[in-house]
């Protein structure tokens, strides 16, 4: 519905990092995570400026309701992963749960599986957040 359609006709220039099939899976994972938890999950894949954490938090701040949002920011070139949870979301996804999800994601990314890692991470974070 959302992400799956973005790259069906890729624009000129470098393409997005995912194939259409991966986008569909990602879209489904995002929708399930949002629907089951009531939080807003968001995934950013691209370079992050230094300081990386600050940039990720800035992106998170641009979401409509940062307090209830979770941002997963992945920079494949810098090999950095940031998970940012808002003030409310943090109560449901504690930092150690986020770290656990980050570990699984980093393991998948280290094997070259970007989409798989993101989906695993979303699943874990949504599980930790529990039902709304």
């Amino acid at each position: 519905m959302t992400v799956g359609e973005t790259v069906s006709k890729p624009a000129a220039g470098p393409e997005g990092p995912f194939t259409t099939r991966q986008l569909l899976r990602l879209d489904q994972a995002l929708r399930i995570a949002d629907a089951s938890t009531g939080l807003t999950f968001s995934v950013y894949v691209g370079d992050l400026d230094e300081p990386v954490r600050g940039h990720a938090e800035k992106l998170h701040g641009q979401l409509a309701d940062p307090a209830e949002s979770v941002l997963i920011a992945v920079s494949p070139n810098q090999r950095i992963l940031e998970i940012v949870t808002g003030a409310q979301a943090r109560k449901r996804i504690q930092d150690r749960d986020a770290k656990l999800a980050a570990l699984s994601m980093a393991a998948a990314f280290g094997g070259g599986d970007l989409a798989g890692g993101v989906i695993v991470g979303l699943d874990q974070l949504a599980n930790h957040a529990g039902r709304s």
Binding site: T2, G16, T19, S42, V45, V70, R90, K99, A102, F109
Partner: protein
């Protein structure tokens, strides 16, 4: 079987089949998508993307939407983020970081 027939059956036909299969694989197989496959440690050239299940939840999403269309997720470049609206004060955010 004459020697010519023998050569035809045991060399000609197998060679034809090998060429046919090879040609088909070359024409259709290709390693499509391998260019954007991510390999850790190698440069990865891809447009930055930002996914949400509900794109309208990004403030100012309409201006940053790379492709027009209501149901499409905004794709933003890192440069554009800097010029965006002042971010909501963060100080209470949590989360985690990792490297690989």
């Amino acid at each position: 079987m004459s020697p010519i027939e023998t050569v035809f059956f045991f060399v000609g036909i197998p060679a034809l089949i090998v060429l046919l299969v090879g040609g088909l694989a070359y024409a259709f197989g290709g390693r499509r998508g391998s260019a954007r496959r991510y390999r850790p440690g190698r440069p990865f050239e891809a447009t930055p993307v930002w996914f949400l299940s509900a794109p309208e939840r990004v403030t100012g999403a309409d201006q940053r939407r790379a492709v027009a269309g209501a149901a499409q997720a905004p794709a933003i470049s890192t440069g554009e983020v800097e010029t965006g609206r002042a971010a909501v004060p963060q100080g209470t955010t949590g989360g985690a970081s990792d490297r690989w």
